[in-house]
């Protein structure tokens, strides 16, 4: 299996009572809480941690796109990706991803991804996302009812723009271009595409038809994700589509330490900070038109594996450190325990691409570095056997080869 290094690029110095007093940490958080100098220092922290991960055997360094929020100050994943493309060697760079419907013309995204692929020597994973309601409908003003259609039109445009041999005209409903001729073009003949989602059957249809990698990116862990991830595999099996576990990406917060006692001491505050400092206004999370009617129905009918009380307590930072662990929000403890828990997660949910969230909230840099070191040297090598014989067309060839060359035959490439 593969490991993708990730951190939600949180603002690390929020006032202690921010989560209790702010209406929403998304769309309308007061800008007065953020010092731009500190934001700059936070960016450097995340870049240093990703550069370290590149030397420890991660398969990619993963970035996301969010807008107007304290919890992910990455309005463009491509900007930090460009720093990494120029300063790392082995790992792929996973853009997960660009919110296609927000850019007009969307060829800007095609250009930037191609540019990054050139700059990184062919190490780009081109994740594309619908974007959360907070990002797309509220921060960027896209009518929610149009979001999916805009996304798919843009997807068709950019995937064609990456490969067309001649300039072409594109007469779409939302984008019209007389001369599409994207410069530069990616190094990779076929960029790996990931489309994360939140359980909409329409998205499953698209990723299955195009054999893309699906992703379920939540911070609620195994227990609450199981119905959606399981739902995807049941649906995929029913369509006789590709059951390769490398078509599933999943986010998991990791808290590695030398002992369980140290894990709690070192991570408990940061985990609570992560969960309690990001209340989202209900109206910003549920605009009409964002989900299709079949998705709403599927969601209403989907089994709940967690009580409403547990979810509310989790969001308020009111669970104990080990309750977060038990429910799967985090996987914490010694490398041995973490390995065993990740193995369980990856095999039970059929996950080939694990997005490891190695820094949370206001975690001190030294703790995150130690987390990287322990997981990179004592956990990743032991988990390379999971799904080892499955082909992986969803991470770049170049990064697979480089990671394998540097970190051993079991890393990167599948066993012969």
């Amino acid at each position: 299996m593969k490991f993708h290094w990730f951190a939600q690029q949180y603002y690390t110095k929020l006032p202690a009572d921010f989560g209790e007093t702010v209406h929403s940490s998304w769309v309308t958080p007061p800008i007065s809480v953020a010092d731009p100098q500190q934001v700059g220092e936070d960016y450097h922290l995340y870049i240093r941690l990703m550069q370290q991960a590149d030397t420890l055997g991660w398969d990619s360094l993963l970035l996301n796109e969010h807008h107007q929020t304290t919890l992910a100050m990455t309005p463009s994943p491509n900007l930090i990706a460009s720093v990494l493309a120029a300063t790392t060697e082995n790992a792929a760079i996973a853009l997960c991803g660009n919110s296609l419907a927000l850019y007009n013309p969307p060829v800007r995204v095609a250009e930037e991804i191609a540019m990054l692929d050139c700059l990184s020597g062919g190490r780009i994973i081109a994740g594309i996302v619908f974007g959360t309601p907070m990002d797309t409908a509220f921060s960027y003003g896209v009518p929610p009812i149009e979001l999916r259609e805009r996304f798919h039109e843009a997807r068709e445009l950019i995937t064609r723009a990456w490969t067309a041999q001649e300039p072409f005209a594109f007469n779409g409903k939302y984008t019209q271009l007389r001369y599409v001729n994207t410069w530069p073009r990616p190094i990779q003949d076929e960029l790996p595409v990931w489309i994360p989602g939140s359980g909409s059957p329409e998205t499953w249809d698209v990723v299955n038809a195009l054999d893309y990698c699906y992703g379920y990116l939540s911070f609620s862990g195994k227990q609450s994700a199981a119905p959606i991830v399981g739902g995807f595999w049941d649906y995929t099996a029913s369509q006789s589509a590709n059951m390769n576990p490398n078509r599933m990406a999943f986010t998991q917060i990791i808290c590695c330490a030398d002992s369980e006692k140290e894990a709690e001491e070192q991570y408990a505050d940061a985990v609570k900070y992560f969960y309690r400092q990001n209340p989202t206004g209900l109206e910003f999370a549920t605009p009409p038109g964002y989900n299709t009617l079949p998705s709403i129905r599927a969601n209403l009918e989907r089994a709940r594996t967690q009580s409403a009380e547990e979810r509310t307590k989790a969001a308020r930072g009111e669970l104990s450190f080990w309750e977060y662990d038990e429910l799967g929000y985090i996987i914490a403890g010694t490398p041995e325990r973490v390995e065993q828990r990740v193995r369980e997660l990856a095999t039970e949910l059929r996950i080939g691409q694990l997005i490891t969230c190695m820094h949370v909230g206001d975690l001190p840099e030294q703790v995150a570095m130690r987390n990287n070191e322990l997981f990179g040297t004592q956990v990743i090598p032991k988990l390379r056997d999971v799904w080892a014989d499955e082909e992986d067309r969803w991470t770049p060839r170049v990064s697979q080869e480089r990671v394998a060359a540097k970190f051993g035959a079991n890393a990167g490439l599948p066993a012969a």
Partner: protein, 261 residues
């Protein structure tokens, strides 16, 4: 269901509430839902033929996907009226239906005899930003009404004993469709076209509409060449519900007045 096919646009199945006989009146409902056979509609139908289609994208009416923009909606209404064999009609549009009614009057001046705009969306005033109709639910609910909200808002929704989620899906579909024309700001350029409205127009507005301040009604009345404004006291976004008598009275009076021409 009325089936309508417009070449190069699309096919539509439309649920039309119809009552009464005499001069025809087209009623276009607001962004939330079709009011069903609400009191004010039945009373308007006492001495005229009221045709109140449920618009594509709302309730059971289909074909919404064919709309690229608000001009397609106006074209749809023009063709729908033509399909009834009607060549001149009074039009009353409420809320988002007011935007559609005004666009229809611009696109088909020969068709629209008299126009009534009730708490209509379609304009934006920088000096008085209107509340986000998709904002916090409690805030929006409070803004809509002058007094206490009615126990049950007039609706054409029919519960389905076999589908416990029907009400949620009904509302999700209606409001989702509304975002096409109202998100993020309910301004699709109508200001530039209102001076082209030929029909004598009555602008009706609830004095306490918290979604659209009265200044928006003044702006409609200012931009439409032959328009009169009637502000109804003690009414919010639904004056036809909260002040049914006053509403029916001013609208009937306006519709039956002799044409000046």
């Amino acid at each position: 269901m009325t089936t309508l096919e417009i070449p190069h646009v699309g096919a539509f199945d439309v649920d039309v509430w119809e009552q009464g006989s005499g001069e025809p009146l087209l009623y276009l409902h607001g962004y939330e839902r079709h009011p069903g056979g609400a009191g004010f509609l039945t009373r308007l139908a006492a001495d005229r033929r009221v045709l109140a289609p449920e618009q594509p994208g709302w309730g059971r009416s289909t074909g919404f996907e064919a709309f690229v923009d608000v001009h397609d909606v106006a074209l749809f209404h023009r063709e729908l009226v033509a399909s009834w064999g009607v060549d001149r009609i009074d039009v009353v549009g409420h809320s988002l239906g007011g935007m559609f009614a005004a666009e229809l009057a611009v696109l088909a001046p020969q068709l629209v005899r008299r126009l009534v705009l009730v708490d209509a969306f379609g304009l934006w005033l920088d000096d008085e930003p209107a509340l986000d109709p998709f904002g916090p639910a409690a805030e929006v609910a409070a803004a809509k009404w002058h007094g206490t909200p009615p126990e049950r808002e007039p609706s054409n929704f029919v519960a389905d004993p076999d589908d416990p989620h029907a009400a949620i899906l009904f509302s999700a579909r209606n409001l989702g469709s509304a975002t096409k024309f109202m998100w993020p700001i309910a301004d699709r350029g109508l200001r530039r076209r209102l001076p082209l409205v030929h029909a004598p127009t009555l602008v009706v507005h609830g004095a306490s509409d918290g979604l659209l301040p009265v200044s928006y009604a003044h702006e409609f009345a200012r931009l439409i060449p032959d328009a009169r404004l009637e502000v109804l006291p003690e009414a919010g976004h639904y004056p036809q519900i909260e002040q049914e008598d006053a509403f029916v009275s001013v609208v009937s009076e306006f519709l039956t007045a002799r044409d000046a021409s």
